[in-house]
């Protein structure tokens, strides 16, 4: 893309275009190729700005990607994934936006051949005027029978002024496929918060504990799970 995108571009509808302008033009996306039968595990903690990755999984290859997006005024992580026969892709991500931060993850997962699997788990929390967004397209090509894809997207708003967008999207041209997607937006359970407070936990501790539980497990098995987890916890501590 040469020209700066506008809100009319579907993939950029929630972006912070003012922040983007300063970053434009973007460098070429990073291309990662996992050859047939190989395995890749990658943990990425974004430092802000736009990260674009093109990931290709050869026949029977698998990749587990873990993402943490929560630094800078604007953080955008884009993944364009191509899955060949029997490939296995998992994406586990946490997005945290406080203040006036805009954090977004935009994925396109292309099931190009039969029997590939994709699993995307998103947990996002926004406070104050923060915005978290997930745009996730799963495209199943003609003939990609036996496709199995899941998009599990949960967002939590800590303030009425915060925003969460979640838009799983399916584009299916095969008939024997399983594509599950669920997106929920919630707030902290007031009954649980009172229960914790009644035992002596100050509100900030109680909230932090519950948010910790909300994102718990996302980084299990990550290449660098302790670094990601402690960075996420530190940020959560600032948000409550």
């Amino acid at each position: 893309m040469i020209a700066l995108p506008t809100r009319r571009d579907e993939a950029w509808r929630y972006a912070d275009l003012a922040a983007l302008e300063a970053l434009w033009p973007l460098p070429a996306p990073a291309a990662i190729m996992v050859p047939a039968g190989d395995t890749l595990s990658r943990a990425i903690a974004s430092k802000g700005g736009v990260t674009q990755i093109e990931l290709t999984l050869g026949k029977g290859a698998s990749a587990a990607i873990h993402l943490l997006n929560g630094v800078g005024d604007y953080g955008r992580i884009e993944l364009d994934v191509r899955l060949y026969e029997g490939a296995d892709f998992t994406l586990d991500a946490v997005q945290l936006a406080s203040g006036e931060q805009t954090m977004e993850i935009v994925t396109t997962v292309r099931h190009l051949e039969p029997n590939a699997k994709s699993r995307q788990t998103m947990r996002a929390i926004a406070s104050v005027k923060g915005t978290v967004s997930y745009l996730g397209k799963v495209a199943v090509a003609r003939g990609a029978q036996g496709t199995d894809s899941v998009q599990d997207v949960k967002s939590m708003l800590l303030d009425r002024t915060a925003t969460a967008n979640a838009k799983p999207e399916l584009e299916i041209y095969a008939d024997d496929v399983q594509c599950a997607h669920g997106a929920t937006v919630g707030e902290l359970d007031a009954g649980a918060l009172f229960y914790l407070a009644s035992r002596g936990l100050p509100p900030a501790n109680a909230k932090k504990l519950m948010l910790q539980a909300f994102v718990a497990g996302v980084f299990d098995g990550a290449q660098d799970d302790e670094t990601l987890t402690s960075a996420a916890l530190a940020k959560l501590g600032e948000m409550v």
Binding site: A190, F194, S198, R199, G200
Partner: protein, 284 residues
């Protein structure tokens, strides 16, 4: 210990407590009985400070450290009071002659000053283990009181001891709070928590409901072991006489339509069981 004077409270703008008065002294066990919808849980939640339970009149004064200021578990340790002075909470708590304005405190401050609420419907919290949150809660209370935190080892020892007292499997304490627990296990868990937090005043809202006969005995004996001392007190909300066979009340009150309409001794509970609310309230 607790003085409730002409308390009025609304829930969702609906008046529920309509001039409730009650005085509880250290060493006493009070039972509150009453028909469904009388306002018993509303009283418990209002005293615990639950958001949405709005006090529209009256006062509640809490005297958590009545007779032995500065010496008991919930007072500042002698060392820390000399070294670092009092936290804000303790400064107000210190003035025991006047007591603390309970209604002016946040729920966690009420807990730190010695109030415990046993829930009629304990909340399930996925992803947070019992021991994790209890240790954090206990240490938050201790911090508020100017006490040193309890180490992981000491906490685990305490938790094991209280779980054993309530005959609860320690493994359950490591599981997420109340998730997948049966009704009876949840109530038992409430009592384990009470044992660990060691409050001055416990308000137990239908702790007996959902318990079978054996569990009732264990829980009753647990309440006695944890709370029956001259400097503690219990407000026992119950529907049935049967828990009172194990935890003998000094006073029995009948709550109806947001007020205490009758007060008596243990015999009142027996009379209720035999004759029902209607007969007794007509006479009242």
């Amino acid at each position: 210990m607790l003085q409730i004077n002409n308390l009025h409270a609304t829930v969702a703008d609906k008046p529920i407590l309509k001039g409730l008065s009650l005085t509880i002294n250290p060493g006493e066990i009070h039972a509150i009985m009453g028909p469904n919808g009388a306002g018993k849980s509303t009283l418990a939640y209002t005293l615990g400070g639950r958001p949405g339970y709005e006090v529209t009149g009256g006062e509640v004064t809490f005297y958590p450290r009545h007779c032995e200021e500065g010496q008991i578990h919930s007072g500042p340790t002698r060392q820390s009071s000399a070294e670092q002075g009092d936290s804000g909470l303790l400064r107000s708590a210190r003035n025991d002659e006047n007591g603390m304005d309970l209604l002016d405190m946040d729920p966690h401050e009420r807990a730190a000053s010695g109030l415990f609420l046993g829930f009629q419907y304990p909340v399930e919290i996925p992803g947070i283990s019992n021991v994790q949150f209890l240790r954090e809660a206990l240490n938050a209370q201790r911090k508020e009181r100017g006490e040193e935190p309890l180490s992981g080892g000491d906490f685990l020892k305490l938790a094991k001891e209280k779980a054993a007292l309530l005959k609860m499997d320690m493994e359950m304490l490591k599981r997420p709070v109340n998730v997948g627990f049966s009704g009876g296990e949840k109530k038992r868990n409430e009592m384990v928590q009470m044992g660990i937090l060691d409050p001055r005043l416990a308000i137990l809202d239908e702790t007996d409901s959902g318990l079978d006969i054996d569990a009732l005995k264990v829980v009753g004996e647990g309440i006695n072991a944890i709370m029956r001392t001259p400097e503690k007190a219990v407000l026992l909300i119950t529907h049935y006489q049967r828990l009172l066979d194990y935890v003998q009340p000094d006073f029995v009150h009948i709550l109806a339509d947001g007020r205490i309409v009758k007060t008596g001794g243990p015999e009142l509970a027996k009379q209720l069981e035999a004759e029902g609310y209607d007969a007794i309230m007509e006479a009242a």
